[in-house]
Symmetry: C2
Subunit: 541 residues, 2 copies
């Protein structure tokens, strides 16, 4: 192996140049650091500069049997950052493939490479004076668009189920060949960037949550800036209202009144956006004492559960009708419901202060104008990773890997029904409490029938023993959720083997695909692989 590695490094250096084959200890250490405890060591970091180099790098990896772990920008925070699933991999960073290779205003799409970040696309659209908005995630502005979509991440806006709004992938296979999905394999086809399915089997899904290929290009669909935009927020003060709130939102989504991403956050999630853990007031106690939690909630003005959402309408009248219908349904189940539009935003400050008591209206207006729901990427959501830190969080340039912020995402999918949400939330609350963490919960209502819950275990990696406690909490939560039927919609690198065995021949099926596409098991071994030894073929019950 060691001899092989040396030869492979040499071959990569020949292709990429010395500067793009990185082996210094400091860089490797960074690449081995996640937001939770990891022990995997990385052998090197290679940085190809284009698709052809990606192909050559993989061929060399096959030749010398060195496993490769591709990352886009490596900011898969809370799910494993840049750390490979298995020990002794070479990381292939795709950050240098950062071209915006196509853009069409009329048909509302952009074609990007994996190194293109949210910030980069945002600035590009601004520079084009584009009439289009992008769907952003809650991750850092410096995270890769493609990286998140391939993990089937969730976003804001009308295209929040992000993988549903992309097409035309360029994929380098584990053995170095290259394919183009949809109509892309035909050089002259016109509908490549506008048609998802192409002709023949639809294969794009194979390259999401998988280790079957390296995506080097993808077309993302964008949404036209609406004629009329409204932001609204809501909150409930009694926990018992949660079921009704969930069922009402399902009703509104089924009626087509809220087609965009809608989130229901608990108080801890909202609080941790605003501030860090109140160590002094809590007198060192953990988890956050209930009376203090209540007091902070009151002080900050948030409810027990709440959030904000946006309406994208074709005219003011259109938006107003929708607003009234939402008020009619949601008004019955929430304690607070405010709508904000351009007309209100332009009112005199004194009027605004009257309309929105206890709210910093300057802050509110800035947030209204530079909102993720308008395609502005922000650091707000992930600044919560500093919640348990004793040192202050940076005002910009957050980096939980670097700063020892502990973060583990536990992400069950539940049917869009109040009672199911309640059961899953109860498990999350009980488990976090038992391990002295706060329940930090977002209910992501992107589609009409399913809710993806994101439960964050947030802690300070700098405190001895916390790494182990967080992992134990995660393990307990995961097991109890699965036992109740709420399976994760996304896995972190340390939990790829955490699913129960399949009841059918699915794992063997997936293994077959892996073996035929990656006979040397070179690409991200262990990533979204589900082993099942001693298999008896499935005959049904």
């Amino acid at each position: 192996m060691e001899g092989n590695l040396k030869q492979a490094l040499c071959a990569w250096q020949n292709i990429l140049g010395l500067e793009y084959v990185i082996t210094d200890e400091a860089s490797l250490k960074v690449s081995q650091t996640a937001t939770f405890l990891t022990t995997q060591r990385t052998l090197a970091i290679i940085q190809p500069g284009d698709r052809a180099e990606v192909q050559q790098c993989l061929k060399i990896a096959n030749q010398y049997q060195i496993p490769i772990y591709p990352i886009s920008t490596g900011k898969n925070w809370g799910y494993g950052s840049s750390v490979p699933v298995q020990d002794s991999c070479v990381i292939m960073s795709l950050a240098r493939l950062n071209g915006i290779v196509d853009y069409d205003e009329k048909l509302a799409y952009v074609t990007v490479e994996p190194g293109v970040t949210q910030r980069q696309l945002f600035e590009y659209l601004q520079s084009q004076k584009s009439n289009l908005w992008m769907s952003v995630t809650g991750s850092t502005p410096d995270s890769s668009l493609i990286g998140n979509i391939l993990e089937r991440g969730l976003g804001e806006g009308l295209y929040g189920d992000r993988f549903n709004y992309v097409c035309g992938l360029e994929v380098v296979l584990p053995t170095g060949e290259c394919i183009h999905t949809g109509f892309g394999r035909f050089a002259e086809a016109r509908a490549v960037r506008v048609n998802r399915w192409g002709v023949g089997p639809y294969v794009d899904g194979l390259f999401t949550q998988s280790n079957l290929g390296v995506v080097t290009q993808m077309t993302l669909w964008l949404t036209p800036i609406p004629k009329y935009f409204q932001l609204f927020w809501y909150a409930i003060n009694e926990d018992t209202r949660l079921e009704d709130l969930v069922d009402s939102v399902r009703y509104l989504k089924m009626q087509g009144l809220i087609p965009s991403a809608f989130v229901i956050n608990n108080d801890i999630r909202m609080l941790s956006y605003q501030q860090q853990y109140p160590w002094q007031e809590a007198e060192g106690e953990m988890p956050l004492p209930l009376d203090l939690r209540h007091q902070l909630r009151k002080q900050w003005g948030g409810g027990l559960w709440g959030g904000e959402a946006a309406l994208y309408s074709a005219s003011q009248e259109h938006g107003q009708v929708v607003c009234e219908l939402i008020q009619k349904t949601l008004g019955k189940v929430v304690n607070k419901l405010y709508f904000l539009d351009d007309a209100i935003a332009q009112m005199p400050k004194t009027t605004l202060t009257e309309m929105f008591p206890n709210i910093d209206t300057d802050e509110m207006l800035k947030w209204y104008n530079e909102n993720p729901k308008r395609g502005f990427p922000t650091e707000l959501a992930l600044s919560m990773t500093y919640w348990r830190k004793s040192s202050p969080r940076p005002s910009s340039g957050i980096n939980p890997d670097r700063d020892g912020c502990g973060l583990l995402w536990c992400s069950p999918a539940v049917p869009f029904v109040g009672q199911h949400v309640r059961k899953a939330v109860k498990i999350i609350e009980e488990t976090t409490n038992a391990y002295f963490f706060e329940p930090n919960i977002g209910l992501n209502c992107i589609t009409e029938r399913n809710i993806n819950i994101t439960a964050a275990i947030v802690y300070d990696r700098g405190v001895s023993g916390e790494d182990e406690r967080a992992l134990a909490c995660y393990e307990d939560m995961r097991c109890r959720l699965i036992h109740a039927g709420y399976f994760p919609y996304r896995l972190s690198t340390h939990s790829m083997q955490a699913l129960p065995p399949a009841q059918d021949d699915y794992n063997q099926f997936l293994n077959k695909l892996k073996q035929v596409l990656d006979p040397n098991n070179i690409l991200a071994p262990g990533r979204y692989e589900f082993y099942q030894p001693d298999h008896v073929p499935f005959q049904g019950s």
Copy 2:
């Protein structure tokens, strides 16, 4: 081979019983008949009764190396009906797997087997007094839901891009194993029927337009009956308006005002819904003389291009605002634009006659109430297959295979831009004219960026020489469309090899998947397979 076949038939008889292994000449002849010339012979028809029998049948097929061609109900009219792509296959009919195995009103889904027809689901929903509507296709009420979706067929309503609104497939692999997609491989997972992606690679797409598995179960999503329903229709009288019409519809769809399926039909398509070829008036001339075409159009009251669409709104006010916005945009580019809702439908007949001159208002009301856009499957669309027949078309129970109706679909995908549509339409018009057929064109505007054109070559198979002329016309049309960059979104069984070579390694990739999943090449050989001999690995340009 012959000895093998006998043994296989014997083994299938043991499993299925004698009555479900069909080899009589009359039945085989039916199974070999499509709406265009085919020469493939089928060896037998086997009819498993459940999933386990499907698995056993495929294992026997592997054992004796007999290729199997699965059909649901075999009504893939215009794309090959039940006729296998290659000669000497045994047809596996899934019509006996016709269970509706799950239904949920609240979460708006139904789980069906491949034998379930549009009519069956429609009647089921009626019997349940369901608050939900299904997306129906233009095909016969007796066609399979799953069969059409696996071909990525187009439907009516909000879920017209039908494959986009299904999940939880049960698939028997070519070698007889069984997998469940999404979360379905976990017996206890709750989100199986509400979450499309599951965890790990998304593989559902592999089983659409392919020969990689037999889908024995699928969950379809349904839409709630809207609070307020409107039907509207429109027409243009000058061909030069087509580009503006297309671009306006794109604008409206991008604005979210017409999220449902929208179709733009040409005059021939609309005429052939209403009547058969006017042999007498045309004095035997073909294609339809332009002056006669003009006269019939006038007489029937339709335009050169037109169609109908539906609005599904959460309240009357909501629907009215949308209606006004559509009128504002579409009104500028069309010659006619009528809206119909319950209030209008309930007006006195005299008022209606005034409002809709030259229209049979009884017919109109029946159509309004029993419209495909409300989930009513009808025979209307495919009754056009009798257009060129000299004998009258049946008033119900149409069957183009049986009645010698010629039909070939040529289905290019084009970007949703007036100029692209014009180029493709011009090719279709020129080609059909050159071969003495009428251009019979539908522009299917389902999504925001892409239009799937369906050009039908409709003829009388009973007339000597027409089969050959139709195929020659199809071939010419296909080549010219591809040369212009407009590739087919769906293939008929006789044109699986009609695509140009891939510019990359896609075909080898697909072959690898086929080989590993179907090592004996048992399942539907040739179906959506794209050979490419003498391959040189793709390195890009």
